[in-house]
């Protein structure tokens, strides 16, 4: 055999190294230098050519879409503003462009239907101890790494088992289980907007309250329309740092803040929930800044919930939030001026109860979902007659 020349050796080695660098390609999707997609931003992308050939029974033409030349459409429901060519599917997986028309595939086909205590949403200042018929279709415009409902939020409507439950039937079901409210929850209700709003309109006529449990990532116009039919909301304010929003959730902060402002302006009762993820959302300075923003823009009366994080879904290599961190953040929020601050996912914590912001006495004692003691009468503190924000009947 001929001895190898230097040139040949170098060529051979270069090819080998080039070949061995191929595994780097999948890693490139996770490097920091990439723009929208990378480990710094997990936001989804529209799914090209992923629409079904034909619409199915559980679809309806989508609201808030803009048609573009060449059969493309822009979805106007959430700030992602998915631009979909004919045959594409949205980031949330629930909307498709078929022949230049945007349709939702999540209409009348909830995959999850339960009767939950309203405190589970969590909503502490709205019809306490009442029941909420909770429904969800699939889909979400976020990609939260710790999603506890990933089985339905990160899938397509066609991929799950579901109920055949159009809006009218939801109302019948709600009456049947004696629910005071219907909660649009679990996955991301914004992504089944049409189903939600149509059901909510019927529910309103029936005197059933509508609860919107959401990440708040919605455009102003659909939000305004929604505010006409919903009675209460719980908005997840996942962080007060846009980088964290992009890194852990795949969204942006500003649209969520705008949602909060709109709800406040429209006088919709809402409560804010923040899941305190260790290392990401437990920074005291950030929380203080968040609370100051809330006081300045929304006032002190919107209840706030700090929830304890537990490892979940893809974010399963972090430890749970230390309880003292939640206690401390609650104190910071109260010191900043927010009147009603709760701690969630921690039994027997002082932050489970409601205290009068004026006299400091316990108004509602909570043991889990049970309310052994209630000292609110006609929306006022029984002790000092201060008006307590919320809807108590």
């Amino acid at each position: 055999m001929k001895p190898v020349s230097r040139r040949k050796f170098l060529t051979f080695s270069a090819l080998t190294l080039a070949g061995s660098s191929l595994p780097v390609r999948p890693l490139c999707a996770f490097t920091k230098t990439q723009g929208k997609t990378g480990s710094d931003n997990i936001a989804g992308k529209p799914f090209k050519n992923d629409a079904p050939e034909h619409l199915w029974k559980w679809s309806r033409e989508a609201d808030y879409s803009i048609t573009l030349p060449g059969n493309a459409v822009i979805c106007g429901i959430c700030p992602h503003g998915c631009v979909l060519e004919d045959g594409d599917r949205s980031i949330c997986r629930s909307r498709v462009n078929i022949n230049g028309n945007l349709h939702t595939l999540a209409y009348g086909n909830p995959c999850s239907v339960n009767t939950d205590p309203i405190e589970k949403k969590p909503l502490f200042h709205f019809k306490p101890a009442s029941k909420a018929l909770s429904i969800a279709s699939t889909g979400c415009n976020f990609r939260c790494l710790n999603c506890q409902n990933w089985q339905i939020s990160q899938v397509k409507p066609e991929d799950v088992r579901f109920y055949d439950l159009f809006p009218e039937q939801v109302i019948i079901k709600a009456v049947d289980v004696k629910a005071d409210s219907i909660a649009y929850t679990y996955s991301e209700a914004t992504t089944y907007y049409e189903y939600m709003i149509d059901t909510a309109q019927l529910a309103k006529k029936k005197g059933i309250s509508n609860l919107w449990i959401s990440n708040g990532y919605i455009n102003p116009e659909p939000l305004s329309a929604l505010c006409e039919v919903i009675d209460a909301a719980n908005i997840n304010l996942k962080s007060f740092d846009n980088r964290t929003y992009q890194k852990l959730n795949g969204g942006n902060l500003d649209p969520v803040l705008n949602t909060l402002k709109t709800l406040h302006k429209k006088k919709v009762h809402f409560e804010i929930t923040t899941l305190v993820v260790p290392g990401y959302v437990d920074d005291e300075k950030m929380i203080k800044k968040m609370c100051q923003w809330i006081i300045h823009n929304l006032g002190p009366d919107h209840p706030m919930h700090f929830l304890r994080f537990f490892p979940q879904y893809k974010l399963d290599r972090l430890y749970p939030t230390p309880i003292s961190v939640l206690t401390n953040l609650r104190k910071i929020a109260i010191d900043t001026g927010i009147r009603y601050v709760y701690v969630g996912n921690v039994p027997d914590h002082e932050g489970n109860h409601t205290f009068c912001h004026q006299c400091g006495k316990m108004l509602i004692e909570r043991k889990g979902y049970h309310i052994p003691t209630c000292n609110i009468e006609k929306n006022k503190c029984r002790f000092c007659s201060t008006l307590i924000p919320g809807q108590w009947i």
């Binding site: 080998t16 595994p23 997990i42 893809k314 430890y319 749970p320």
Partner: protein, 712 residues
Amino acid sequence: MKKTIKLKIDRLICNVVVATGVASVATQLLTIREFLSLLNGNEFVIAIILFNWLFLGGLGTLLAGPFSKKNASVKSLYWIATCLLILAPVQLIAIRKIHSLIFIHGSSVGFYPTLAYSLFTITPYCLLLGFLLPYSLLVVRSQIDNYPGTRIYIFDNVGDIFGGALFSFVLVYFTTPMQAVCFTQVPLLIALYKLYTSVYNVKFPAITGFALGLLVLVVALMNEASTLAPHNGKLAYYQETPYGRIQIIEDQEQFTLFQNGRPTFSSQNLNAAEEVIHYPLSQIDCVRHVLLISAEKSMISEVKKYNPISIDYVELDPAITDVQFRFGLLEKHPEMKVIHQDGRQYLAQTNKKYDAIILNLPEPDTFQTNRFFTEQFFSIARQRIQENGILSFSVKGFDNYISDNELQKISSIYRTASQVFSQVILIPGNRIFFLCSESPLETDIPGLLENKKISTSYISGYYDGNITLERINRLNHQLLPSVPLNSDFSPHLVRILLDEWFSIFSTSPVLFVLILSVINIVYFFFISKEEFVLYTTGGFTMGTEILVIFAFQIFFGYIYLQIGLIITVFLAGILPGAFYGEYLRKRGKQILVFTDMMLIALMMLFIGGITLFSNHLSGNVFLAFGFVVSLVCGCQFPVALHLQGGTKPAAIKMFSADLIGAAYGTLVTSILLIPFAGILWSAIGLILLKTISLIILNSKHETCFKTKISNI
């Protein structure tokens, strides 16, 4: 004189080969452990990392192809081996550091990023390692013509055995990963220094290389602590045990125990304690004797509310209980007896009967944990509970919707448990609890607790809102009636959980499997029959090793030392096999045919043994079996090499075929055969592999496996 120099070089290079074997096996084991601490520790990940290691080693071997003995020098060997030595600790640091740079802290990683990340970090070391063995042979042959390639193979094997034994039986108990890596590089450092200074008069390069190597080792040692620092919280405790990495992370008042990078126990998890203890114990009228297999904080206190006579706590790893007590992750009680043993093995051996056996184990996504979710285990447990006793365990559940994978998992476990127990109920939630008994069971846990006047924080407040009758009934109605049972020999749960892992990350291994299959098929077109035999032998050896370890665990439990011994004997058998093969090599093809038939016979013996004589098998039988299999496999290398002329290209191809075959064998057996087909059909699969080898070997045309493409 000349002969003396030649013999000296032979000895010096063989020393380098042995030292490389020692260093590389230790590095391999440490690398795998490191990946398991950073990535998901399921069977797929273990198999992928091992596959990458072996496959890249095989590729590295092929890289030596263009070289000839005319341009192979001791100098080059010296520097290449020095690079390898330096790469070992650098690789370990790179694995830790790169992980924190490219992945989101606290998040799990899916299949393709795992594959890419492991390939990216180990490629330089593995390619170099694979290259070094044939290159060493070239260097020796540059001095000694017709130097037998088998000799290098044998010395490499000696190094592998020693390195494996040293790590598994000594270093893992007393050293950190970096200490172990650095310690095992030292013999190589010395061997290289001696090699260079014996051959060349100029010592400066040797001193430089030695100093550089030593510097890297020392710097790596000094900086190990910084590579282990957690992203947030404080590292309160760290230990490497035979079972993996233990870390205690402190944040404020909370201590969390991490096992292989995953949080398992927290000092503030009262909810879990109440669910795990009260769901089963509330069902029993009189709780006297309780067995906990793995436990965490507050569980003992909750058990105590029932005033039991005894609480037995079984934990496999003594280091876990030590840190649990030390950091308040488990309470001590006078009635509590701690037993350090495999939980299943304990139950199989004890005569004690319990009112409740409560398991608090991780998901059954490895063969090791799957053993606690099989029909055989449930039968053992049933024999160890009182007439009205209860077995309780849980798996990951769901919040509001059960996916198809989860439904398969739950249904399989339910069906399996129902084969043994007449009463099985499910309590849904973020964890799904299985309560199994011969007595009727109830789901109204708060009601049961109220009757017993036992107070709780979480259950009393949240149970009725989270675990409604609606949810319980819905789950029961959704259970699939015809899913496969999960048994020791057919671990279907492992497969289901692997599917679940893929679905979480919305990926599929299909593309990977396709690419590997294509590479494999193309490879077959370019190899000779003898190479194919070694390829199948490599696959057979690794496949058998995995089967033997798997079977051993079923019969005897997870006993680290014994399993370490099994791995060692699989390495050790190759050595005498290679000697014997060298002695018999002139009988050529006859020996290959005979050894292939022997392997088939041995595997049939294995099948017969575990099916017909399972009650009479001892651990030593497994050791002897492993030794004989690897002895027979070891015979084949020198024979195959001789049949190919014993030339340098032949040696390279033989080394490579063996490694690549081993790589595929590992992957296919771990993630395809055992989870999908079970242990018996996996054994049959390996028999089929060797049968194909026999057929190819006996085919008429010598070059039938070489297509016309390779002749162009």
